[in-house]
């Protein structure tokens, strides 16, 4: 990991409040796998003091570029969304342990919810490159929030659900999963905690990898902000840090909530 100024190649909305930012810089050389993240300092003012953790949605080591997809929700991501091409941003990363691509030889199910979808894109690309068959199940709140459906389709079969039914199937990713009864070797997922919980319950004996989120301080394991208790050790002091041991964990490795 390094702290580096990366140049914005582009930064534009791709769905309601969802932005795609392409960045260029040497930092990309250090990315080791899909699912890693970076910590971004929005600007040099103090008021939004902390860095924002954002997953790497796609990267290209040859071109030294990477893509972030983020929701402009709070003050920091809103400010980020106003940045223009050629501006520089202060990026710290890559951080964390991502999705183990090599854990799948044949067929993978990728399940993403909302702003948990982005890191699955690079994962899917790499799986496909390895000759793995991928199936995507993506959930969004509503049609206006849907993004990257086309991009995923180009990589493999893609199902989309929206809570209000304005796009794809009405309901959640779990509705699709229950209906389609997919067969798969490995399930990779990233999204809101209730979704992860449902998946955990549905596939207790499968090879599942989940990417977790937590509010972070340092992003490198020094501050103990982002811990999860390990499952084997629920009443003891066993724990993992999401920023360094994760954000991707094997099913059952940690408790999904504090």
């Amino acid at each position: 990991m390094i702290k580096a100024w990366m140049e914005i190649i582009s930064n534009r909305p791709i769905a309601k409040n969802i932005y795609k930012m392409e960045l260029k810089g040497e930092l990309v050389q250090r990315i080791t796998c899909p699912g890693q993240f970076v910590q971004i300092k929005v600007d040099d003012s103090f008021d939004l003091l902390l860095r924002r953790p954002i997953s790497i949605a796609e990267y290209n080591a040859e071109k030294n570029t990477m893509t972030l997809i983020y929701r402009a929700e709070g003050a920091g991501t809103k400010r980020l969304s106003r940045k223009k091409a050629s501006e520089l941003v202060d990026v710290f990363g890559p951080l964390g342990n991502g999705f183990p691509v090599e854990e799948t030889k044949e067929k993978a199910l990728l399940v993403g919810g909302g702003i948990g979808v982005p890191p699955l894109y690079e994962l899917s690309k790499q799986l496909v490159q390895n000759g793995v068959e991928v199936v995507h199940v993506l959930g969004f709140s509503t049609k206006a929030a849907v993004f990257y459906e086309q991009e995923f389709k180009e990589l493999g079969e893609t199902f989309v659900a929206t809570v209000d039914g304005t796009f794809g199937a009405k309901g959640t990713v779990m509705d699709i999963i229950n209906e389609q009864r997919f067969t798969f070797e490995t399930l990779y997922t990233c999204g809101p905690t209730p979704m992860l919980k449902a998946i955990e319950e549905a596939f207790p004996h499968k090879k599942v990898f989940l990417s977790l989120e937590e509010r972070m301080g340092c992003g490198i394991g020094a501050c103990f902000a982002c811990v999860r208790r390990t499952k084997t050790d629920a009443n003891d002091s066993g724990y993992k840090k999401i920023c360094t041991d994760g954000p991707v964990f094997r099913i059952g490795e940690v408790m999904l909530e504090c």
């Binding site: 008021d47 902390l50 103990f224």
Partner: protein, 311 residues
């Protein structure tokens, strides 16, 4: 130009990471050579391992952050057997921050940890506002703080610094009480008790409810308290609370601190400690100082030597 001598501590420079914002150094060692630091204040160590508070444990506030880590740490045994020996590869004095729920726990930790060869001083964390079990009392009642200081002084093999909580009416009374009880130095300030509510849920963002406020937002309070305390006690003060850049370091020295510690800024810029160490000499020169010691307490030394009263 930067070397500073304090009880038990020969500092190459007056800049060190603050406790809890630097773990036991392992993570930052991947970013730079820890031997460059003036010292390292390690994460609070308690007798037994602690898991700490539920998450979320941090929240951002305007120019600051709240934390309620709850003293998570691997416990005395592991710190003695793994963390401190690992840190001994670096040429840097360690200040061991210790915490506990009872005087006995503090005493036990102090006794053991002060024996580690690279631990050159203790920092008594009497001020962590996150532990409910009476912990806050140590930090707010002068007599209780004095009693604890004395008990720890009796068993420690190294000088003892007491870390003051800013959540008090009279910070000078606290400082004087620990000085009288034998403290070799004071570190200040710990975090201010704060809270942030998520308006959508109506609940505290931090699962614990309240948390400790740190970062630039608290800097004026830290400077004021250091200004007051450094004039009122003979023992040295290590200052902290919102330091982000070189000028902040110098401001703390001028307020009366002999050295400074940097907490939250490590999260904003993980290289901040070494960057400030590198930048300090030039800035001191620019301001007309030949040695960092010349800054110390200038704000009140000047006042005393010349009258600045206004008609």
């Amino acid at each position: 130009m930067l070397a500073v001598k304090l009880p038990g501590l020969e500092l190459k420079n007056p800049i060190m990471p603050a406790s809890g914002c630097f773990g036991f150094g392992r993570e930052f060692a991947k970013l730079y050579d820890l031997s460059k630091l003036g010292a390292i204040m390690i994460k609070a160590t308690t007798l037994e391992p602690r898991f700490g508070n539920p998450t979320p444990r941090v929240a951002e506030t305007p120019s600051g952050m709240l934390n309620a880590i709850g003293l998570q740490n691997p416990g005395l045994k592991k710190v003695m057997e793994e963390e401190l020996p690992w840190l001994s590869q670096f040429d840097v004095p360690i200040i061991a921050n210790i915490a506990g729920s009872t005087v006995e726990e503090y005493v036990e930790v102090a006794k053991e940890i002060s024996k580690a060869p690279n631990v050159k001083a203790l920092e008594l964390n009497i001020s962590c506002p996150n532990v409910k079990q009476g912990g806050i009392m140590f930090g707010t009642v002068p007599e209780v703080a004095g009693h604890l200081t004395e008990a720890v002084k009796n068993v420690s093999s190294v000088p003892v610094y007491v870390k003051l909580s800013p959540n008090v009416t009279d910070i000078v009374a606290m400082a004087k009480a620990v000085e009288k009880a034998g403290a070799d130095g004071i570190t200040m300030i710990n975090t201010l008790l704060g809270m942030r509510i998520d308006v959508k849920t109506g609940r505290s963002i931090i699962a614990n409810g309240t948390g400790g406020l740190s970062g630039p937002a608290v800097k004026p309070i830290a400077v004021r308290m250091i200004y007051q305390v450094s004039q009122s006690v003979e023992i040295p003060v290590i200052g902290m609370g919102g330091i982000m850049n070189v000028d902040d370091c110098i401001e703390f020295l001028q307020a009366g601190a002999k050295a400074v510690a940097i907490g939250t800024a490590n999260f904003v810029n993980p290289y901040v400690c070494v960057e400030l160490i590198d930048a300090l000499p030039n800035r001191l020169k620019e301001l007309g100082f030949d040695h960092v010691n010349e800054c110390v307490g200038r704000s009140w030394k000047d006042e005393k030597s010349s009258s600045n009263s206004c008609p």
